[in-house]
Symmetry: C2
Subunit: 112 residues, 2 copies
DNA sequence: ACATTAGATGTCTATATAGGAATATGTCAA
DNA sequence: TTGACATATTCCTATATAGACATCTAATGT
């Protein structure tokens, strides 16, 4: 079996670095496709294809105005990723505490 | 160009759902491979291959003991993912606030 | 109507899987 | 040494890209 489709979920969609750049670029405000092409120095068909993946996974919203299409990051859609990673927060803070405690123990020993 | 290797970075590594399951499974405590096989109902070669990807990206640590190998999630390695997603937190909270404010405005109107 | 502009789609190619089956490596126990 | 056990690797196949290039569609201005 090959890898899951990039459109299967947000984890696969954001695995591509260019798509992450696009999401960052479109987070603050909506922009037409041409601005993405110029701003990120990608060629236009490539941007359109990435936007399609992002649209299908709900990571961006699109608004038509004349012949322009304005895209904007849908920040809400990124929450599941954040939530998943957050489950490990307790573990890395534990690890940090252990490191900190060891350092303090060493320091205390050196001061006696 | 094909997709980037799963071992190229953690974004690609965690794009695979089974690997996310494994990381969750190994977060609380270290376990030998056989426990992963039984616990997640995967076949052994598949688990070994996923573990290799996770090892190469630094998402798990491994410890040998006799003929067993104990794996454990390296929570620290997940932080970049969390940090990236966190950059969008301000935007989704803004969106939530707008929704909240609209709801409150409606409620206020109905009470007059 | 016609040329122009913005964006989307199609084609082609090289490459990296994930799964399944078979096999290899390494370690312990009798 | 031999056999059993734990894990890793190899081989095979079908499939899904991402990039480059060409082309198509839709909306606009004159």
């Amino acid at each position: 079996m090959p890898r899951a489709a990039t459109t299967s979920d947000i984890f696969n969609a954001v695995a591509e670095p260019r798509r992450r750049e696009i999401l960052t670029f479109l987070a603050r405000r909506e922009r037409p496709v041409s601005e993405i092409v110029i701003g990120l120095e990608l060629d236009q068909p490539s941007v359109s294809k990435h936007l399609r993946v992002l649209r299908e996974t709900g990571l961006v919203h699109m608004r038509c105005q004349g012949r322009q299409k304005f895209y904007r990051t849908n920040a809400q859609a990124i929450r599941p990723l954040h939530d998943w990673a957050s489950r490990f927060e307790q573990y890395w803070s534990q690890q940090l505490n252990r490191v900190k405690q060891r350092a303090e123990a060493v320091a205390a020993r050196e001061n006696t």
